[in-house]
Symmetry: D2
Subunit: 323 residues, 4 copies
């Protein structure tokens, strides 16, 4: 990234979808449809495919029945077929590549690889855009489907947060091979040799992927998946809806100091952590944005308005591991 | 744009700044500082340079004294020096180029050209990022300067809207030479040969530039400049602040059908139209987003919730021309 | 009201319920349940009884099948049995009383009378407070039932607006016999002899009843019924929900200059005008609040931020009459 | 209160004002003007009189220089001169009365007494309503003065929270002699013989006064004073303004389970706790509202969405006492 003659890499378009595993497929599905306000696009085998009302693809969440909670894979969509080819070439050179598969419901051929921490990741370009029908067409042509008026009414997938045992390895792999910008990071000290958490931006949203240190030292775990709502007021309403429906609230609503996200963290019935968030009007359009560093000392101040970071944030991930 | 072997052009980073002309420099400056909540970075000659609290560059607005209102120039920042070179080469080939200049306060060398409709436009990459001091440092490192707590508290520049006599020429020039995506358009009919208005996206914000037909047939006029606030609630508060301070409200608050922007249009004392807006959680991250077409017939429905488009929107621009 | 030795009358507690007539009972019921987010407490004969989630009584809306839209009656709850007795005595002295009836589902004996304009009105004290069950109990004991997470999620009945042919007669009758304060009024001139519209407060909410001049000269018509939501943001969301579900929006969202209510006016399928509103933090706790007068000249400015008052506001009421 | 033949007492109109003591008069004044957005009505001797933009009286806060923080007195306005006479007679019969004084800037003769816990309290009816001038007149006649567009922009005084050593004594005195309703209470057990906290309503706002147990056993201390803003969004913005200006945030923003208030607690520079709050659309208009009881066991759940009650809430009051 420091070669002045090279251009930054902007080949990823956005976080595309996440496949979550759940031991309670029916209850998890009802959580995402009735509480989160999402819709089912398809069911196939042990999997249910879902999207938020303004997600433009076939799905952004695939729920798959499993003996325990966790994440099977997640995927990036690239900006073009050429961008896909460039990223695949880069990953193959690292030795972490797995290879091409035929895709899934809703998207074309995908290239699979493992992150340095072991997370199964896919890249693809060809996609099936969601085609709403008479029953769910929005009155506004620029909305992917009708505002549901049900539960939390999440609008679109926002970001994914992974746990990793080795943050530095993940960071270097991501920036070198997938591109984008490291917008913020937590470090032990200021020379960035020992990152504790990293946030990656691939478009103008300040992050699509975050990776934070798993204090239990496990590899390849899932931390949380986030859907966006249109306002902070709706995050507050989401908290009431969770309260009224017996959904466990872990922490929030409050504002993160890092990335300024206004957040609410809950657990879906299968045991995976889900965030409902709003980022107000924040965007990063600066193409050479300088990474913001936060030391562990600074993090002791807690979140933006002083709420202490909840200890379970450092250890609770899926699949569950014994402390 | 239709060659399947070519990649889309993503060389522009964002709308960078606008230079507005005002016959009432002092009053216009007080409007932007006291009412909009912006800050003065510098004054030089007949110009005052201003920025919103989270604008990362030296300025996003340059106010220059003049005998009448209007826009002298506007500028794009590119994503890299290489991207700048590519765009300059493309523009030079069109014959609309003017040439390089030494830049201005806050940014480096700029390449100037005329839009097909005559608007003076600049491209640059080298910039001076705003360095806040002890008096205006935010408590959050990821904010460019302290939230002012004054007036409307606009956060950042959002987009520019120009008038043009020939929308098709502007559209084709922009997409071919500057890149990005035409996210929405108003057309006479559905074969897009006669566009009435166009919205261009260059990052993930659904538009940084809009160009609408000047019903008076004038060339190169300014329609409005928009600053973003964090919530729709703050747009409503902005309306009260304008009401309480004798600022002329033209229309709104209401929601645009096109682009879904929640808007408030007012006139600054110099006579230029200014918008305060919020776009909720909308982003376009789809790299091959298909343009949304609106016919004139559809536009008769008015804005999203039915407010008729105000007639002055089609004729009132700066500089003023006689109808 | 001008006798310095007399105390103001605070015998009414609040607007209790409204019985609306609809030629489309099923569709009207679905509007109030699916779109407004209200719940059915009971059905009896041709009537459906409904309440918002934080209405504490058995119902605040009674929908009754009829050949045309309109209002059959509305009711006030008094602050005590003694207060009820005092108001009945006052009304009987006017000759407008009808007499006692045995009440209805959800409340005890009621005293019926006609307003000077002919509106059927009832007064009662004994009530059946809504008892939620396991299926709709709120997690917060101080909420009458669970937040529904469905449609607009209106919280409580807010106010009723009547049309009348003789505003002065209504005003004088109301203040003399029912008490409360005239918080705001529109007058032809400043000596208040010719009111065009009146707003009555009986508790700390700035009005529970408004009466406006029927430009068609009809007597005893209904203008609109209003339910409150928790924020202006939810009024905006309500507008989207109406847009997405084909509910006719008449005007708004916008802020009234009079009473400052943030409003959205729609038509339920039966033809009655319904308002969704929020009044932010406004209350009137001043026990000798001085009436705010608005002249017709001042009203030409439109609503708070300049939206013109929609002409149908002066003529469109139910039952419909020919202009 | 249990005599079925007696009517409830509705003689108090609202909490009128609070006199806070501060060892840092200048800094406290700047906090209330620059951060809270209030205005100075008068200064006299060691006191500064302030009001929020929609407070209708001369002042709602009197800041008086003192060697330590605390509250000198607070005052209720009654609904009429007759109501005042009735309440004075009741208090005199208790032996806690002090007697009449000539009033203060902004209001007429006041009757002073001590609460059972020793808080100096006053009652009055005659008041000087705030008369705005050309410099601060609102564009809307129904607003007491212009929306300031400065800092937090608090709208009006909302409620007062006192500490007391004997909650039962305070409760019984208040309800018997001053009237109103006990809307909510925390009790050791469900027979209400041992209240830990009480909330009193005198109009339609669910409380104007709260009294909570002082775990340090001190008598007559001050807990906090609350000003209302128009939306929860503005409470969130208030948190940012405090963060940006070095104002100590104690807890929040979050939603109270009791009374549902959306709160932010901070310390003004003199050391007194101040709350910024919004109650959404909640009102209690039920004239025989049944008190909501919360056991200590239930309180262990924390605030509405699970935030633990901060321990300093039980001990930190002014004047400071040693634990």
């Amino acid at each position: 990234m420091n070669d002045p003659t090279s251009e930054p890499i902007w080949d990823l378009a956005h976080l595309a979808h996440v496949e979550l595993l759940t031991p309670k497929l029916d209850q998890s599905t009802r959580f995402f449809t009735d509480i989160m306000g999402m819709s089912i696009t398809a069911t196939q085998g042990d999997s249910v495919y879902l999207r938020a009302y303004d997600d433009y693809e076939h799905h952004t969440l695939k729920l798959t029945a499993s003996s325990e909670a966790g994440m099977r894979h997640y995927a990036w969509r690239t900006r073009s077929p050429q961008a896909l080819a460039r990223r695949v070439a880069a990953i193959e050179a690292t030795g972490l590549g797995i290879g091409w598969n035929g895709g899934d419901l809703g998207h074309g051929p995908a290239y699979a690889f493992r992150s340095p921490d072991g997370h199964l990741t896919e890249l693809y370009f060809e996609t099936e855009k969601y085609a709403c029908g008479p029953h769910d067409q929005s009155a506004l042509k620029n909305t992917a489907s009708r505002f549901p008026g049900r539960g939390i009414n999440v609008r679109r997938i926002d970001h994914l947060n992974l746990f990793a045992a080795d943050i530095r390895a993940f960071r270097d792999f991501q920036l070198s091979n997938l591109g984008g910008i490291l917008t913020e990071t937590i470090v032990d000290n200021l020379d960035e040799r020992n990152p504790r958490a990293v946030w990656f931006m691939v478009n103008s949203k300040s992050y699509d992927l975050a990776v934070t240190l798993d204090y239990l030292g496990a590899r390849g775990r899932f931390h949380h998946l986030t859907y966006a709502v249109n306002s902070r007021e709706e995050v507050l309403i989401a908290a009431d809806i969770c309260l009224e429906n017996g959904i466990q609230i872990e922490t929030g609503p409050h504002k993160h100091a890092i990335q300024q996200t206004f957040f609410l963290y809950v657990y879906e019935p299968g045991g995976n952590r889900i965030e409902v968030a709003n980022t107000t009007a924040r965007l990063i359009t600066d193409p050479d944005y300088q990474t913001v560093f936060w030391t562990l000392e600074e993090r002791k101040k807690g979140q933006a308005w002083g709420l202490p970071t909840i200890p379970s944030f450092h250890t609770q991930g899926t699949p569950m591991v014994k402390e």
